[in-house]
Each structure stands twice: as C-alpha cells, then as structure tokens.
Amino acid sequence: MYAGWLVSLVLLTLATAGFTREPAAEIKKLSFAHTTLENGLEIYSIEDHSSPTVAVQVWYHVGSKDDPDHRSGFAHLFEHMMFKGNEHLSPDTFDELTENVGGENNAFTAPDVTVYHEVVPSNYLEPILWAEAERMSALALNDTNFKSERDVVKEEYRQRIAANPYGEFSLAVEQKSFAVHPYKRPGIGNIAELDASQLPEVKAFHSIFYRPDNATLIVVGDFTPSDLERWANKYFGAVARPTTKIPRVSVTEPPRTEDKHEVLSTTKAPLPAFAVTYLAPSVRSSDEPALELADEILSGGQSSRLYQSLVYEQQVAQRASFDADLREDLGLLTFRVIVAGGKSLAEAEKALDMQIDKVLHDGVSQAELEKAKNRFLTGKLMERETNNGKATALGEAAVIYRDPNHINTDLAKLEAVTANQVKAVLNKFVNGKNRVLIEYLPDAKKETPKSGETEKP
C-alpha cells in the first residue's frame, strides 16, 4: 500500500508546505511559466539554476502522419533539411552554437510531432533562440544540399531497416495494423518515395507547417525570466504568422470488422517473430492512465507478466513485449514476440494468447498495480535529474496531452487507477475485438545452423 498514501502525501505537501515523514516520497511540483506571443507561438519555461546549462526545444505540431501522399518519410526528410540553413544560418550554425561550445543538438520526427532540441551552456541561450527563430522563419536550400541530405536519410533507412534483421517486421506492424489512417505509412519512408521527393516540396512543407502558431517553445534551466521574455519577443516575435489554415489529417480509422492474418518472409532474421495488434484510443483519452499501467504490468521490467511467463518460465520467447502506443488520433495495443530458438511459432502464439486470456479474465493483482505505480514514480524522479528530461516532459504535456499541468498531475491520475480499471480497460479494447496478426518467418533455406551443437575447434 506504499504508493497508496504516496500521492496523497504529495498533494498534502503542496498544501501544507513540508509535511513529510519520508522525504523520498516527495515529488516537488514543477512550477512553469507560460506565455503566448502575438503570432501564436506558445512558450513554456522552468527556471532552474542547479547546472549552468539550459535545454531549449521547439515542438512543431506536424509529424509523419502529415507526410504528403506518395511521400512517406517526407516529414522526417524535412526535419533533416531544417539544419541546412537560410540566408543567415549556415549548415554549420547549429553545431557551432551547441556541440562546438560544449552543448548538443538533435531532432526527432514522431507520428504527430517533430521536435528540435538543444542543451547549451547557459550563456548561449540568446544565440540559440535566434537560430531557432531563424529556421522557423525560412529555409534557403539548394539542390546540392537537398540531394546530399536525402542520401543521408536513405542511409538512415538502410541502417534502421535494411541492415536490421527485424527492420522490415517493425515497419509491417504499422502498415498492416491501420486500414486507412496515415499512421500506417512508415515515418522512415522508403527509398522510392524519398527519391521522388523534390526541393520545392521542402519549401512548401515549411510554409504550411513551420510557423509560430503551429509551434511550442520550451526553455528549462539556467536563465533569467526577463532575459527570456526579451529574447523571445525580439527573435520569435519577428516571425510572421501566415494567414492560411493549417491542414490537419481528418481521416478516421474505422473500427475493424474482421481479424487479419499477414505473413511476411525474411532472409535476414534468424528467429521467427510475430505481433498481435488491437486498435486503441487517442493519447488524450480518459483511458490513457489505465492503459499506461497495463503496459507497465504486462511488459515493464523483468518481473513483468510477459517476461516472466514467455521468456523466463516457458522459454518460448527470446523477447516479449506489450506496448500501449497511444497517439494523437488513435493508438495501437501491440504485443510483439521474437520466438526463442528451438521453439515453434505456434507454441509461442499459444503461450501469448493464454497470457492475454488470463489478464482479460482474472485482471491484475494489487501487488502488480503498486509495483507499476512505484516504477512510474522512480521514472518521474529520474526524468527530473536533467534540464532536458524536464523540458521533454513539459513539451509532451503541452503538445501531446494539450495540458501543460500534466507534468504535475500525471502521477495522481495513475495513482487513482484501480486494479479493476486496468482489467476493464484491457477488456474494452481487446476482448471480442478484431486483431491483426503479423507473422515474420525466416526463409527456411537460408537458416544456417548456428547453435550450441557446433563442436569446439
């Protein structure tokens, strides 16, 4: 029952300032500032002087689901082009203002968002804000740097997919699980559609989506609020807000009407794999906290149900996981298994089905629930160790959950979930629902004997 009083203690702490019997149980509320510029840019910040660094993130509300038709992978290719400069930014500027002075920078493209993030020594806050505002304002690219960077992205595709024995499998899970929603198209794209992309499309994509009223700036760390306000106004305030409407994906994924069974063969993977997926609600659904707990109980850590049953006890799986992959429009509940050497696909599928049936029928125990809540609490504390961790949580709260205060309320929401609710939410989305089964089978001819039977030289 530890976690039971834990969160109420947190709430009490907030109300009565410092009533703590066990300091470790205290998670301090993060107090953040929020402002909206006239051009629509949302700015959230947390001042924290414990290290002389500052984390800066710009979240754009555009992701792989917004890839143009026949241009899978475009939002991600575009993300790479955001580093290539404009009239005032050279392709080296971001590295010069981050890595080369002791900071770091990178970006990622997710199905719903594209995020550009830096950690810099705090004396570099002003220049990095200027640079982020510059690339929000405009890009000036040429065919040479476009084609060269497109080649980089093709190498990224090859590294993640072609050279990875289970790369094709991971693409197939999304492709086969959604019927019509653009979530079915792989964010990494494919070589043909990357090759078909043209420079003018990059320019068009910027003007449509990269604008202040489609962006959220997060600043966390060693800064003075008056400086941030001044610089944000000076640099981001100068970025024009277009008058056009931002297009949004309006496709609705229909409910499934039948089970589907897809079989792929591979010459690269040594062990068979399979995935079972169900459609799930939006990340903003009220079912989200219970699904997060289900994810943790089924698949978080080595004491989780799937690891203990399939990997440890029955030894039918080399790896087994469950992922409540919730997104803006809808989500997927995905069970993934790589079958252990010497075991059959059928054995592993049967073992997984038994675990699914068991949790649907018997639910989860109070001990499992408490464990999951404790793990979230520790994870939350570890997220607070760095400015970047806090910035990512704040960005996710503001943009993905559309509730910045989510960073302070998420644990209480998880805490309120009962074992019965975890059982109910799994039944709601799995029991009697249509599943998609994706099997990924090694081509029998290619299997080379590589097991313990080989004699020592």
């Binding site: 470790a24 949004r248 309006s250 464990k371 160790e385």
Partner: protein, 484 residues
C-alpha cells in the same frame, strides 16, 4: 479524407516568407554569447572497510534518488582459454538466484520498490547495482548484497541464460555492424586476452560449465578487488554504514588476481572482408591497437580522436556524411583498457560505396598527422569533450559511472576534477604528435557486407584483403576461419 495533397499546391507562400532580407530580430548573425558559468559538481569521498572494500560516496542531495554500483576489477580478459563469455555469464547470473531467493523473487522485489537491479561482466570489470528511490536504500541493498555475496549459480539458471544469450547472438551476428565489432576484436587483439568476444560465441557459450563460473567467482569476486559506489541522496557516513552493514561479512579469499597479458608487440595489420550476402549495408572499419587507460597521452588521445571522429562536426562525419551523404554517421573511438585498447574509425554505408568510405576513413586518418588542427577546430572538440563530460555528471547513474570508470583502473578520485583542465590544456601540437605516435602506422581494414557489391574495387585499393564467407567465420580463432 486525407487533405495532404492540397498543400503541395501552395509553393507561392514560401516565396513570400523567404523574402525576409533582415535577420530575425534585426540580427543577421548569431548574437554573441554572455559570460560563461563554470560547472561545479560534488567531490566524492571515500572510506575503506576492514575487509578491504573501497566505499565511494557522491553526496547529491537534490533528488530522493540513489544509484549504487559495485564494481569488480576483473572481467572478460580473465575468461579461461576457449571459454569466452565466462565473466559475462558469472556476472549476469548473480541476479538469477541466491541461496535464499529465486531469480523471479529477486527481480520482483527490486521492481516492487520501483527500482532496477542489474549485473554483468565486460572487459576489465564486472558489476552489479541498483537504482532506487533513496527511501528504499535498505531493502534494495539487502538484495544487492545477497546477489553479490551469495549467488547460487543454479544449473537450471545457467542453462536458461545460456539459451537466451545464444539466441541474442544469432540475432546480433546477422547485423553487419555488430558482427564487425566481433571481427574488429580479433583484428586488433588476435589471440590476446582481449581478442575473444566478451559476450561469448556460439561455440564457447555451450562449453562453459558451472564449475568454470564458480571458479571465476571465487577468484575475482573479493572485497579487495572491488569498489562500492553510491551516488545520490546519501552522506558518506550513511554510505559507510550501509557498506559495513551489508558487505562487512564479505571475506577475502586467497586466490591471486589476474594480470593481462596481451601479445600486441608483434601486431600486424590485416585487411579482411566478411562476406554477408544478405547484408542491407556494409560496415566499414579501420582499426589498430592504441593506448592504455593510464597512458600519459590519455587526454591528447581523447582530443585527437574527437577531432577525427567524435561528434557531428568531426572530420569523419563532415567528409562522409555531411559532404557526401555516404552514411548516417561516421565516427572513431579509442577504447582504453588496462592494456592497450583499440582505435577504430567506422561508418555504415550502402554496400556499393564501401570502398569510397574505406578510402575516406584512410585519408582522414592520414590527414590527422599532417594537417594541424586549427584554433577553432581544436577549441570546438575540447568543448565537445568537456560539455559531454559535464552532462554525463547530471544524473546519479552517470556520476556513479564516471567514478566506476576510475575505480576499475585504480585511478585517484581527484581525476574527476582534472578532466576539464587537462582537456583544455591539450594543444594542436599534442594532437599531431599523438596521431603520429599511435595512428599513422598501417591499420587493419574490416568490412562486413555484401562482398559482390564492392570486392573488385576494394581489391584494387587493398590488394592483400582476405575474404571470409559468413558461413566460414569462426570468432574463436585469431585467423577467424573455421577449420575444415
């Protein structure tokens, strides 16, 4: 309906945006930085128990978290002949059962506290540890001490772990870059003690007996060959108290320690291709033995390596990725060990461009010895190293890891303070001297990929290259070829 098509029809908008001729905020170039602030971090303190166990505590009281890591200063270099993977199995089996608790009980107990427990064996060290909320220190340490002091090494758990590792290896050996890392080990260390795979091979893992593991454990898991590191919400007094309470009964055995005896004096470069017909990309590597962790050239080496291949704007990444689009990333590394470790420069590229990449790696390596590092380039690589060092100290786990990196090699704790000034003191000349001294002599080329796509041009540039079909590769032998 997806309205994604519509926005391809709007390129005119971009023109209006791009015609800004003033910089943002009226500033055309980056505004200058303000005055820098220095990085301060906790100075770890230490104590010693009567049984010889070194206890190191980094007091970091800002969050109620605690990272605990116990390191053993012996790892895979001490694997018995032909039993690659013994240290790894020994380390990994600690958490798989003690005299009192089963494997599921151990992991369930720690995870119920909200924490994680881990143990493993790698080169030069083995380790075990927990990450928990500091309020859970006592129950977590009770379990950590039990797994370190009283492991059961049950036959059933050995068999289970062996099967899991073999399955994991089957997957890893189908990936060009991970297969290449095994081959690079042999290319650098031959049949020296670092030459075999720390994780074991498909042939060595089945040969390891429980008795080998028990012997390894008894020989090296001793308090005088260990250090217990705490980082987080804990004081030195508390850390000492916990160490005495939970590890005070640990006894030193009589067995002597292992000393590394690699045979690098006669090292010869050799160029190798492992032909992997299904490879979706080629992994291209240049490698050779370089320096020890306690080398006087340690800091020059880090800076020289950073100029060449650490970070996005390093020379290798600039030439291979940024200028030519040949790879998602090119890099180099200096793996510094108790004895001389490997220098490796590498990139993954489409099979057809493997030779271009090999030649670029070679050119840049040569240039490091001939083209002096200019002022800004030198400063930028030093900042990269000091910045990433500082960031690694932000988390308890990272801080404990930095301490562990010193404790493994018995380096003094004040080395932590010396890192930033020592890096900043490295000159352009030091970089050139380091490159000439350690990196200019011939290297070995290791390419793992689809040979049909690159072998012909490769042999023109690297005429002595040996080709080993994947099916004939034997990681247990220095020459890497299966005996018929």
């Amino acid at each position: 309906m997806n309205d994604a098509k519509a926005y391809l029809l709007l390129p005119l908008l971009w023109l209006s945006l791009a015609q800004h001729s003033f910089g943002i905020g009226g500033v055309d170039t980056a505004p200058p930085p303000a005055a820098p602030r220095g990085f301060n971090f906790t100075h770890p303190k230490e104590a010693k128990l009567d049984n010889g166990l070194r206890v190191i505590v980094a007091e970091r009281l800002n969050l109620p978290l605690l990272a605990v890591e116990l390191i053993i200063r012996t790892g895979s270099e001490a694997d018995p002949n032909n039993l690659a993977g013994t240290a790894n199995l020994t380390g990994s089996l600690l958490t798989k059962g003690t005299e009192k608790m089963s494997a599921p009980e151990i992991v369930n107990a720690v995870e119920s506290l909200g924490g994680t427990i881990f143990s493993s064996g790698g080169s030069d060290n083995s380790n075990a540890g927990v990450l928990v909320m500091s309020s859970k220190a006592e129950p977590a340490l009770t379990i950590l001490a039990d797994v370190v002091l009283h492991p059961a090494f049950k036959q059933e758990e050995l068999e289970r772990l062996r099967r899991q590792l073999l399955d994991g290896l089957r997957v890893a050996l189908q990936q060009p870059s991970s297969l290449a890392s095994y081959v690079v080990g042999r290319a650098v260390y031959g049949d020296g003690e670092y030459g075999h795979a720390a994780g074991g091979t498909p042939e060595s893992l089945p040969a390891i007996q429980r008795a080998d593991i028990v012997k390894f454990y008894q020989s090296y898991y001793r308090p005088d060959n260990a250090a217990l590191i705490f980082s987080g919400n804990i004081t030195l007094e508390q850390g000492k108290g916990y160490a005495q309470q939970f590890f005070g009964e640990w006894k030193t055995s009589e067995v002597s320690s292992h000393s590394v005896n690699p045979s690098l004096a006669n090292w010869k470069p050799t160029d190798l291709v492992v032909d992997m017909p299904e490879a979706g990309q080629a992994s291209v590597n240049l490698t050779k033995p370089a320096i020890k962790r306690n080398s006087a050239d340690y800091y020059s080496g880090l800076v020289a390596n950073a100029v060449l291949g650490n970070g996005f704007s390093s020379r290798l990444n600039r030439e291979i990725r940024i200028k030519r689009g040949l790879s998602y990333g090119a890099r180099s590394s200096l793996d510094m060990r108790r004895d001389s470790g490997a220098f490796t420069a590498s990139a993954q590229t489409k099979n057809e461009s493997a030779v271009d990449v090999a030649l670029l790696l070679q050119t840049e390596l040569k240039r490091l010895g001939t083209d002096p590092v200019e002022g800004d380039e030198l400063k930028s690589r030093e900042a990269l190293l000091t910045g990433s060092y500082s960031r690694s100290m932000e988390t308890n786990q990272g801080f404990a890891g930095q301490i562990a990196g010193l404790a493994v090699f018995n380096l003094p704790l004040d080395t932590l303070d010396k890192f930033i000034p020592s890096i900043n003191a490295v000159t352009a000349k030091d970089v050139t001297v380091f490159a000439s001294k350690y990196l200019m002599s011939p290297t070995s080329l290791v390419v793992v990929g689809k040979a049909a796509a690159f072998l012909e041009p490769l042999k023109k540039n690297f005429p002595g290259t040996r080709v080993i079909p994947q099916a004939e590769l034997d990681l247990n032998r220095a020459d890497l070829v299966k005996q018929k």
